[in-house]
Symmetry: C2
Subunit: 189 residues, 2 copies
């Protein structure tokens, strides 16, 4: 059932870094993105793949991790993603990308989960530095980075409490808690 | 396999309008959206559901359908969607919605497909008219409309030809063709 996959498909930020992900797996994920709907079917989203430790090391320093975990600068050595997909907008095809990269990234997240992997869509990216590190041509806008790996953290969904706070947090066992609004709160008509 | 679901999950624009979709089904779909990732976990996307013929009739006139099919103004009576989910951005929660609505809509599209339904994410919406018709409060931005129904058209994916044309088209049998770029074209590094 899709519901199970969606429920298990949590954003993950700590990984077994020594669990390699190969190029073929990343291509399978991008194929899921390729088959997704695209505004006016323009398909302006392009992809850079990274599964090699040296290339991963070029990408990692330019990513911002968990904004609400003030004391945690991001995954340490050994717990970093073992692969990335960088989503680019090809400005020679379109000047605006709508939600194409969200649709594409979600297909890849679900595909990763189906393969026992997990990921995190990162929008907090030092774009100019990443562009330089990967020598991304000017024609491409850097939209999102999808970090991938074998998950090394437990993530649970909680209801949003009476105070309305939606900030995720980690308990003393290192379990990551994500408060989600109720159906009653989000259906407004 | 997710791959099969993704492959079958095509944008659909003609439906068996007499196939009713009930409120419970729409709530199941919104629950899939609810459980999706959201930027900074803010969850600013809210939803209006419509499954009643009278409410559907208020929504339909304000939707733009298939931009590339110049001679086709959209589905005729009897082939219109039997339900809608209107995705709103709650400006009291956030002033920007990133790709949250794309992620949410994709979960709902996949969930619809799993239930034998199909849909179309419509960004071409006469927003002021739709706001008036549904009396959408000013605090909400209208982001997307997801049209849903039991599919009454066949959709096939073709490779993009040598001329690079990505415009979808309908053949003489009414089959809807969608040219998709190859993996080789979209993986650029």
């Amino acid at each position: 059932m899709l519901k199970d996959l969606v429920q298990e498909c949590r954003s993950c930020r700590r990984f077994y870094e020594d669990h390699a992900i190969d190029e073929a797996t990343l291509k399978e994920l991008v194929d899921l993105a390729r088959l997704a709907a695209s505004g006016n079917n323009k398909q302006p989203v392009k992809y850079i793949l990274s599964w090699q430790p040296e290339k991963n090391a070029l990408i990692f320093p330019h990513l911002g991790w968990a904004g609400y975990l003030k004391d945690w600068p991001g995954p340490g050595e050994g717990e970093r993603p073992s692969a990335y997909v960088v989503l680019l907008g090809d400005t020679e095809i379109s000047s605006s990308f709508g939600v194409d990269h969200g649709i594409a990234a979600q297909n890849m997240m679900l595909g990763a989960r189906e393969r026992g992997l997990a990921g995190c869509m990162l929008g907090s990216v030092t774009r100019d530095k990443l562009r330089e590190a990967l020598q991304v041509p000017d024609r491409y806008e850097i939209l999102l980075v999808l970090a991938l790996g074998k998950p090394k953290e437990d993530v649970v969904i909680d209801p949003v409490g009476p105070d309305g706070d939606i900030k995720y947090w980690r308990d003393s066992d290192g379990v990551h808690h994500v408060p989600k609004r109720s159906l009653a709160e989000i259906i407004v008509g």
